[in-house]
């Protein structure tokens, strides 16, 4: 069987959906971060495969940048968790309730 | 044109002094003194303007501009007055010092109060002198904000609701009007050239029929016919002014606002702000939408009649002096509306030119006279409230004539002027209006006479209940006017006599304008 563009795209869409599902249903902030990463990486997969099938390198170049940005994002995110943990001793989203309408 | 920009100065003077007064902090005497100085200075300037105004010409004078302001939107800085504008500016300059003099007792944050009054004056003068819609609209709205706060902060017990109601009604009207003019703006804009906001150009376009063609051509909207579309646009503009005047059934904000506002503020509201609506009818609706008024003539005329008759009856049913006077204000301005609508009749027949000119002259006079008289009447009510500790019910008093004869005499004169007694100013305007309207719209005029009768009845009732009859013992110590108060009040009273006996003083200025307007109505 030939593996074509659509196969990559399906996998990438599945990964994106999984990531989104994780962000919506999971409660632990660290797991949430992982799900966010999954979403970003699904986009990376799509970019790489498009790049391969479109016959230009723009997509691959983009992926390099995105990987870097994603790392920075996680760093910021972890710092935020630490800041929250110091105040609240928690890393769960249910506890983010001090401000409500 | 390198002359002194006198109209700009008259507009900016109260604005600047308002800022100074409000910025001074709570120095009551200083704030009051400055506000009074500024308002008298304005009055002096306007009187100077009046003297140098050429009454033989109905054209705009003291024109400034048009200077480009926001070229991309066709907004220009364009000022000028004709007889009507000048008369309104004079009225503003007269009523504002009256109101300031009457509000000597403001204790709560006087600097803000006086500042707001001056801002209001600036807004009013701006409205009466601007000739470009955008520019005009800014001042129209600008006058609303200080008025709202004046009612909201210094009014009676139910002032919050009254102020909100006042604001919401006027705002809805303004928005409708804004949309209507936006439609006109879009219809008149060409690629690479902004649309037209300028009243004079718009009136020219309306006269030549261009506007009629442009609107449906540029804005053919869904399945609306050209005629309906035009009526929608006209309706939007009409609503804005009808609320302000107010014309029934858009009047329900008025009694609450007038009676809850403190009396000096009501002097401003009824004396000048209500004139903004009538002014809009004459300056904007009549020249730009004459045909549409003509199409809708019958319902509009009858709305005016209803306004006149019902407000008079409603005034008769009130037991609170301020509410009575409020309804009587609606009634008096109803005559103006009646005349404005009647003038749009027979737009192609030249034979009624004299009647129309008379009617328009009547409208102008009525606006001025009512402003003066109503302001004076609310001043008297303010004095009553001061003396009675806030009471102003029709039945709270009685026999005041015996303890305060001068007070009752002077207020009686103002009341008779409001009633339209010949010899006083109120008569002249109404007489001219009826003289003009009877040949144009006999039935409407005939029914409106009922309004005159009922007005006479309720004004006589006031005289009877408050001044005559057995003396209410509670008020046996009711103090009469002091010399200072007499000295101040005698001025508007004297003006009432002067204008009643010698109306040419004003007519000389406005007649040419009225004739010119009638001439331009032909198309």
């Amino acid at each position: 069987m030939n593996v074509g563009l659509e196969h990559y795209l399906v996998v990438s869409a599945l990964l994106f959906a999984l990531g989104l599902l994780g962000v919506i249903t999971r409660r632990n902030l660290l797991v949430l971060y992982m799900s966010l990463e999954l979403m970003l990486n699904s986009a990376n997969l799509a970019l790489v495969s498009f790049s391969r099938f479109n016959d230009n390198l723009n997509g691959q170049v983009m992926v390099f940048f995105i990987i870097t940005v994603a790392a920075a994002e996680v760093a910021v995110g972890l710092a935020l968790i630490v800041a929250l943990y110091r105040k609240r001793q928690t890393a769960h989203v249910e506890d983010l309730t001090s401000m409500k309408l | 044109m390198n002359e002194l920009p006198i109209l700009t100065i008259i507009t900016l003077l109260p604005l600047v002094s308002g800022i100074v007064v409000a910025g001074l902090g709570e120095h009551r005497k200083l704030a009051r003194g400055l506000a009074l100085t500024s308002s008298f200075l304005s009055l002096a300037l306007v009187l100077g303007l009046w003297r140098s105004f050429d009454g033989n010409s109905g054209l705009l004078q003291f024109v400034e501009g048009p200077h480009a302001w926001i070229p991309t939107l066709g907004v220009q800085y364009y000022l000028g007055v004709d007889g009507l504008g000048l008369l309104m500016v004079l009225l503003t300059a007269l009523v504002v010092p009256m109101s300031l003099l009457a509000s000597g007792r403001v204790a709560d944050r006087p600097h803000v109060y006086y500042g707001l009054v001056l801002f209001l004056q600036a807004g009013l003068v701006g409205t009466f002198t601007a000739l470009n819609f955008f520019h005009w609209f800014i001042f129209w709205e600008l006058s609303l904000i200080p008025a709202f706060f004046l009612v909201r902060l210094w009014g009676g017990a139910a002032r919050a609701a009254a102020a909100t109601q006042f604001f919401v009604y006027t705002m809805v009207g303004s928005i409708a009007m804004l949309l209507a003019f936006l439609a006109i703006f879009l219809a008149t804009s060409e690629p690479g050239q902004p649309g037209v906001f300028d009243f004079i150009t718009l009136a020219d376009m309306a006269r030549s029929g261009t506007l009629e063609q442009l609107l449906p051509a540029k804005l053919g909207w869904i399945d609306l016919t050209a005629r309906k579309l035009l009526l929608v646009v006209f309706g939007g503009a009409l609503l804005g002014f009808a609320v302000k005047v107010p014309m029934m059934p858009f009047h329900t904000w008025l009694p609450a606002a007038y009676s809850e506002a403190s009396s000096p503020v009501t002097m401003l509201l009824t004396g000048v702000m209500s004139k903004m609506g009538v002014y809009g009818f004459v300056r904007i609706l009549l020249p730009i939408f004459p045909q549409h008024i003509n199409w809708m003539l019958t319902p509009l005329l009858w709305l005016a009649v209803i306004t006149i008759v019902f407000s008079a009856c409603a005034a008769f049913a009130q037991r609170d002096l301020k509410r009575m006077l409020a309804y009587s204000s609606i009634n008096h301005l109803g005559y103006c509306l009646l005349a404005v609508f009647a003038v749009a009749k027979f737009t192609n027949a030249p034979q009624f030119a004299t009647e129309k000119a008379a009617a328009l002259n009547g409208v102008f006079l009525q606006m001025f006279n009512h402003g003066l008289t109503a302001a004076a009447l609310f001043w008297f009510v303010a004095l009553i409230e001061q003396r009675s500790g806030g009471l102003r019910g029709l039945n709270d008093f009685g026999g005041l004539r015996k303890v305060a004869p001068i007070f009752c005499g002077l207020m009686g004169i103002a009341l008779f002027s409001s009633l339209g007694l010949p010899g006083l100013n109120g008569f002249v305007g109404e007489f001219l209006i009826f003289k003009g309207v009877f040949p144009l719209a006999p039935w409407a005029a005939a029914f409106s006479v009922i309004g005159l009768l009922v007005t006479a009845i309720f004004i006589l009732t006031i005289l009877q209940r408050v001044f005559n009859g057995p003396l209410n013992e509670k008020w046996s110590k009711f103090p009469d006017l002091t010399l200072g108060e007499i000295a101040l009040l005698i001025i508007p009273i004297a003006l009432m006599f002067v204008l009643g006996l010698y109306p040419r003083l004003v007519l000389d200025v406005i007649n040419a304008t009225a004739v010119q307007m009638v001439e331009q109505l032909k198309f």
Partner: protein
């Protein structure tokens, strides 16, 4: 492709200046001012930051440039320069209103982050390439997340930042996925090339997915319903100057790039006066495309923002909900996608940003003394701090759209542009009417704030608020700016129109 690095550096000089200033503020704070009192440190480093902004502004004024470097990676034209100058102005005011605050010891870092966020926004404005768009969006967002968490003493601050971060991360993922699909469909990363490739393809299902995802991502950045959930919490919990910057600078840049992406990337071929990909949101004549999507978002934002704002008791939350509503008005300008509409949009966004910074500045003044931002804390403010109260009145009235303030002209201009685009059918009239009705509603809650300030009685024992002279001057300047831009809008509009013509949008 020959790239002259010297030329590139010259083009990016304003950004470079701001980055260097950020580093300078960091270094100075870590070395020479370390032992000073926090207040002096703030003033010294704040002045450095301001000087950097001013230098960058002056550079752009003196050296107008018009170039497209690296195939749309970095576009400098008069329009982007105007927007950058406005952004730097907003940054400047943000720095100025934060000088009085006491929420942090890490002053150098704080200012450096503000400046870095500003650099991100400036690159964002210049980007016409999806890679640059994504990276500068992230640079801006990451800096703003940290700024939101900067008050380490307050529990709410970290929570606000986390919420902002989670929603932001998700939105970034959506945007990125949408952009990757766009790249796949067109084989290009440059917006112009993408548009050219999509010209005759019509509405591909994949394109619809890409479009919706991109709208969603930007919808988050501009806090439009239904991606608004972070905004109230972030505004309330974040330190007030940070919130001001999130509400102003970030909004201006996001709206600008949103409009640009939509206008350049997604117009498509024209049939019967309707752009194929844009579609049409005209009444009873919907044509599928991105404009109906944006129309739905705009309607929801205006309704929800205004109605929920009414019941707020925290002033910052109130401003947040009103920000959602304003995003709705501005989306109408995005939808109109014409040169005129972009001018109106930028005018609106800039004046809105200015006004919001001012409003947050007043909130910061009150908050510094009464420790919270509840409506009740504003009671009788007019007697305690008359100048500040007057400024707040101007800001609130401008936000409500009362003439002759900038807010009125902004709304007027956006609506006029939208109606013009919809002509000859006035198709967007329904949206404009809704927007006007909703802005009338908004007057109610703005008035609630003014009512507290001017009508309500002072709490017993409250004394006069000592507002630092600098704070008063800054707020006064912003207020004067709001009045000036409202009375003489041509100052900005004229420049915008000329630059749009020059940029060829």
């Amino acid at each position: 492709m020959n790239v002259s690095y010297l030329e590139l550096l010259k083009l990016a000089a304003p950004e470079t200046i701001v980055v260097l200033t950020a580093l300078a503020a960091l270094v100075v704070d870590l070395t020479s001012t370390r032992d000073l009192e926090a207040r002096f440190r703030f003033i010294i480093n704040g002045m450095i930051a301001c000087a950097g902004c001013v230098a960058a502004i002056v550079w752009m004024l003196v050296m107008p440039a018009h170039a497209n470097a690296l195939e749309g990676m970095f576009v400098v034209d008069p329009l982007t320069q105007v927007v950058k100058i406005a952004l730097l102005g907003l940054t400047l005011f943000t720095v100025l209103i934060s000088m009085d605050s006491t929420f942090t010891e890490h002053i150098g870092e704080y200012l450096a982050l503000i400046l870095l966020a500003a650099v991100g926004m400036m690159f964002l404005v210049s980007a016409e390439d999806i890679l640059m768009i994504f990276i500068s969006l992230e640079l801006t967002s990451l800096s703003l997340y940290i700024l939101a968490a900067f008050n380490k003493r307050d529990v709410n601050s970290a929570e606000a930042a986390l919420k902002y971060f989670l929603f932001g991360g998700m939105a970034a993922a959506f945007t990125l996925f949408g952009l990757s699909l766009l790249y796949g469909l067109s084989g290009a990363t440059n917006l112009g090339q993408i548009a050219a490739a999509l010209e005759d393809k019509g509405l591909d299902p994949l394109l619809i997915v890409a479009m919706v995802m991109i709208v969603l991502g930007f919808g988050f950045k501009v806090a439009a319903v239904p991606f608004h959930l972070w905004a109230p919490d972030a505004y309330q919990g974040a330190p007030t100057p940070s919130a001001a910057f999130i509400a102003s600078g970030s909004k201006v840049a996001s709206f600008f790039i949103f409009a640009k992406v939509m206008m350049i990337g997604f117009t498509g071929g024209e049939t019967n006066g309707v752009h194929e990909i844009a579609g049409s949101a005209a009444w009873q004549q919907f044509v599928s495309g991105w404009t109906p999507v944006v129309a739905v978002v705009a309607v929801l934002s205006m309704l929800l923002g205004n109605l929920v704002a009414i019941v707020q008791s925290s002033v910052k939350r109130l401003i947040a909900y009103s920000a959602i509503a304003h995003a709705g008005y501005m989306l109408i300008g995005v939808m109109a996608h014409s040169g005129e509409a972009v001018a109106s949009l930028v005018y609106y966004a800039v004046t809105y940003g200015l006004t919001t910074i001012g409003a947050f500045g007043v909130v910061a003044v009150v908050e510094a003394r009464s420790k919270d931002d509840q409506l009740a804390s504003f009671a009788g403010l007019s007697r305690r701090a008359p100048v500040v109260s007057l400024c707040m009145m101007i800001f609130m009235l401008s936000l409500a759209g009362i003439p002759p303030l900038a807010g009125f002209f902004g709304k007027f201009y956006v609506f006029a542009a939208a109606l013009k685009t919809g002509a000859p059918n006035l198709g967007l009239l329904w949206l404009v009417i809704l927007a006007i009705a909703m802005s009338a509603v908004s007057f109610y809650y703005y008035l609630q704030v003014l009512k507290q300030i001017y009508v309500a009685d002072m709490p017993a024992g409250a004394e006069e608020l000592r507002v630092p002279v600098l704070g008063q001057v800054v707020l006064g300047l912003i207020a004067v700016g709001v009045i000036l831009l409202g009375c003489a809008p041509n100052l900005l509009v004229g420049v915008l129109q000329a630059s749009i013509k020059a940029a060829g949008l």
